[in-house]
C-alpha cells in the first residue's frame, strides 16, 4: 500500500511541476512563439526560398557571323526555360558582363562556324562558365550539352539522317522522377527547424532555474531528479509536437511533398526526434552554469551542425571519414534520413530502424548525462 501511495504521490508531484512549467510558458510568450510561429515563419521563408532547380540562368550568346546554322543553334536556347539568353556583339563585351556577374556563362560561335561544320574535325562551340559556383557551372554545362545534342539530332533529322551515337544513356530517377529539389529540401528543413525549436525551448530552462536559485528550492521538495527532468520535458514536448504537426501539414499541403510512408511512422519517429532535441537542450542548460553560456552553446551546437552535417544538402557519403564519424553525433542526421525516406520512398524499414536506433541512443545519452550532471551539482 505504501508503494501505491508513493506512486500516486509521484504522479501528483509531477502534475504540479508540469502545471508550474505550463504557467511559466504561458506567462512568457516567447516559448509559444518559438513553438508555433517559428515553424510557420521559417518554413514559409525557406520552403519558397531554398531551391536548387536552376532556371532562367542569364547567358551571353556571341555569334560572330549570324547565318542559318547559327540561328538554328541559338533558337534552342531561346526556347529553353533554363536560360535567359542575351545577345552580345563580341566576346570582349560578353567577358566583361561575366566579370561583372551580369551573366553566368558565354556561348561563342566563331566566324567560321558554318564552314567548319562541314569539315572533318567539326566546328567548336565555345562555352565559358563562371566557375566560382562550381555546382551551377556544372549544371550550366550539362544544360548546354543537352541543348547541343538536341540541336544535332534535329539537324540530322532535317538532312534525313539518323544521329550516330554509340551508347545512349537512359536515366531513371526513383522516388523523385522530376528531381524536384523542393521534395527533398522541405523534409530536410522540417528537421532543421525542429532541431532549433527543440533546443531553443529547453536550452535556457534549467540554467535559468540554477541562475535564479529556484533549482535549490525545487530540490528540497520531495521531487526526485528524474521527476524534475520529466516535469521539464513534458510541457515542452507537447508544445514541440504542436509545432511539428504544423510543419508537417505545411510540407504536405502547402509544398505538396508526397507522403509515401505512413503517417504514424512519421509522427512516432518525429516524437522520438523531438525528445532527442529537447534532451540536448536540457543537457546544454544543465552543463552550462549560466543562461549566458547556455545561450552561446545553443547558438553554436544546433543550427550550423544540423544545416551542414545532417545530409540535408551535402551528401554525407562524400565527406572524409573523420567528418562522417562526427555526423553520427548530430541528431538531425538520423531524422533527415528518416524524413526523406518516409516522405519520398515509403516505410523502408532497413533505413528507418537503424536511424531510430541512432536517435534512441542519442536521446538516452543526452537525458542520462542531464540526470547525472544535475545530481552531481547538488553535492
Amino acid at each position: 500500500m505504501s508503494a501505491d501511495t508513493r506512486r500516486g504521490g509521484s504522479r501528483m508531484r509531477l502534475r504540479g511541476l508540469v502545471r508550474k512549467e505550463f504557467l511559466q510558458i504561458v506567462r512568457d510568450p516567447s516559448s509559444i512563439a518559438i513553438a508555433f510561429l517559428m515553424p510557420i515563419f521559417l518554413l514559409l521563408l525557406f520552403g519558397y526560398g531554398v531551391s536548387l532547380d536552376s532556371e532562367h540562368i542569364p547567358l551571353a550568346l556571341v555569334v560572330e557571323q549570324p547565318n542559318a546554322d547559327t540561328a538554328s543553334f541559338t533558337a534552342a536556347f531561346k526556347q529553353s526555360r533554363y536560360f535567359n539568353p542575351v545577345a552580345y556583339a563580341d566576346t570582349r563585351e560578353a567577358e566583361q558582363a561575366l566579370m561583372a556577374g551580369r551573366v553566368n556563362a558565354i556561348v561563342v560561335l566563331r566566324q567560321d562556324f558554318s564552314r567548319q561544320l562541314r569539315q572533318a574535325d567539326g566546328a567548336p562551340i565555345q562555352l565559358i562558365v563562371n566557375g566560382v559556383d562550381a555546382n551551377t557551372a556544372r549544371i550550366i554545362s550539362g544544360y548546354v550539352e543537352g541543348a547541343w545534342e538536341k540541336w544535332l539530332e534535329h539537324a540530322a533529322l532535317q538532312r534525313g539522317q539518323k544521329l550516330d551515337v554509340p551508347v545512349q544513356m537512359e536515366q531513371r530517377e526513383w522516388f523523385n522522377s522530376e528531381l524536384r529539389s523542393r521534395n527533398f529540401l522541405v523534409p530536410g528543413l522540417v528537421a532543421i527547424i525542429m532541431t532549433l525549436i527543440g533546443a531553443l525551448l529547453t536550452a535556457m530552462v534549467m540554467s535559468r532555474e540554477w541562475e535564479r536559485g529556484t533549482m535549490e528550492a525545487l530540490l528540497v521538495t520531495p521531487l526526485s531528479m528524474s521527476e524534475v527532468i520529466l516535469g521539464k520535458l513534458i510541457p515542452y514536448f507537447i508544445l514541440g509536437m504542436g509545432g511539428l504537426v504544423l510543419a508537417v501539414s505545411m510540407a504536405l499541403f502547402l509544398f505538396e511533398v508526397p507522403l509515401r510512408g505512413s503517417l504514424w511512422v512519421l509522427f512516432a519517429t518525429s516524437a522520438l526526434f523531438l525528445v532527442t532535441a529537447l534532451g540536448m537542450g536540457l543537457l546544454i542548460s544543465t552543463v552550462a552554469r549560466s543562461q549566458f553560456v547556455a545561450g552561446l552553446v545553443a547558438l553554436i551546437a544546433t543550427f550550423l551542425p544540423a544545416f551542414l552535417l545532417s545530409g540535408f544538402i551535402f551528401d554525407i557519403g562524400s565527406m572524409p571519414g573523420v567528418v562522417q564519424a562526427i555526423t553520427h553525433l548530430i541528431a538531425a542526421r538520423y531524422y533527415v534520413a528518416i524524413l526523406q525516406t518516409v516522405f519520398l520512398a515509403g516505410n523502408v524499414w532497413s533505413v528507418i530502424l537503424p536511424n531510430v536506433l541512432g536517435l534512441a541512443v542519442l536521446a538516452s545519452v543526452f537525458l542520462g548525462l542531464t540526470w547525472r550532471n544535475a545530481r552531481k551539482r547538488l553535492e
Binding site: 516567447s30 550516330d164 536515366q171 527533398f184 562524400s318
Partner: protein, 369 residues
Amino acid sequence: MLGRIFALVVKEFLTLLKDKRSRLVLIVPPLIQLMVFGYAATFDLKNVPFAVYNEDRGFASRELLAAFDGSPSFTRVAQVTHESEIAPLIDAKQVLMVVHVGPNFSADLLSGRPVALQVIVDGRNSNTAMLAINDVSVMVDRFNREWAASHDGNLPPSHVETRAWFNPNLESRWFFLPGIVGILTLLVTMLVTALSVAREREQGTFDQLLVTPLRPVEILIGKTLPGFLIGLAEASVITLAAVFWFKVPLLGSLLTLYTGIVLFLLSGVGVGLMISSFAVTQQQGLLGAFIFMVPSIILSGFATPIRNMPVLVQDITLLNPMRYFLLVLRGVFLEGLPFHLLIQHFWPMALIGAVALSVAGWLFRHRMY
C-alpha cells in the same frame, strides 16, 4: 571620454573572457567548426556506392564499366544478377545508383545498332542524383568519342569546348569555403553581441550603466568594440586557414577583403546589439539571434543560389548583410575583383550597420522598465 569608453571596453572583455566556460565557447568551437564544415561542405561526389547489373558478356561493356571503376566519384560495392535485387539495394540506401547493361550490349554496339545504358538513381536527394547523372554522362560521352574514333564511326559535326573561369577544375570547396568564412564570422559576432545588453537588462546592471556619466553613444561604442575586435581576430584566423590549410586561392587584395570584413562586422555587431537591446530577457535575446542568424545564412546564397528564389524572397535578401559579404568574399578570393567593382556591395552593408547601430543606441534609453 576616451578613458570612459576604454574602461567600458575593458569591463566588456572581462565579462566575456573571465569565465572559463564562455572563454572556451568563444574560441574553440568556431575553429573546430571551420575544420569540420570545411571538409563537409562540398558538392563533389566522392566514393558514392553503386552496383552493376551486367547481362552482357562482351568486352565493350567491360570497357565502359572500367571507366566507372576508375572514377573517384564512384565505388562499386555490389554486383546485381537479377532485376529483383535492384530495389532493395536502392531502398536501403546501400547504393545510390545501379548501372544496368542489357544482354546484347557488345554485339549491338559492334554491329552499329544504338544501345542503351540504363542508370537507375536514388532521387531522394535530387541534387546528389543530378550530380551522379552528370558524372555518368561525362563518362558515357568520353566512351562514345573513343568508340567512334576507333571503330570509324561518324563523329558529330561539332563539339562543345568548355572552359571554367576562376575555378578551372570546378572544385566546389573553393565556392563553399569563403562562405564558411562569412558564416563563422557572423556566428562569432552574434555570440559576443546578442546577449550583451539583454543579460545586463535581466540582471539590472544596465540601469546602473545608464546612470553613470557615460553617454549612450559611449555605451554604444563600448558595446560595439569587443564584438568588432573579436570578430576581426577570428575572421583573420579563418581566412588564414582557408588560404593555407584548404588552399583556396586569394587573388584579390587584402585591403579589399578587409574593407568587406570591417563593414560586415559593423552590420553584424549592429544587428546583434539591436536585437540584444530590444530583448528584455536573455531568452528573448537568444531567440532574436536565431531568428536573425538562420534566415541570414539560408537566404544568403551560401548553399542555394539567390537567383533560384522567388522574386519576393530575392527582395527580402537585399536586407541581408550576409548576401553582400558572400559576394565580396567570393569576388575577392576567387575572381580577384578590384575595389571599385565591389562598392555596390560595400555600401549596403555600411548602411545596414549604421541604421542598426543607431536603433540600438536609441533603444538603450527608450526601452526601460
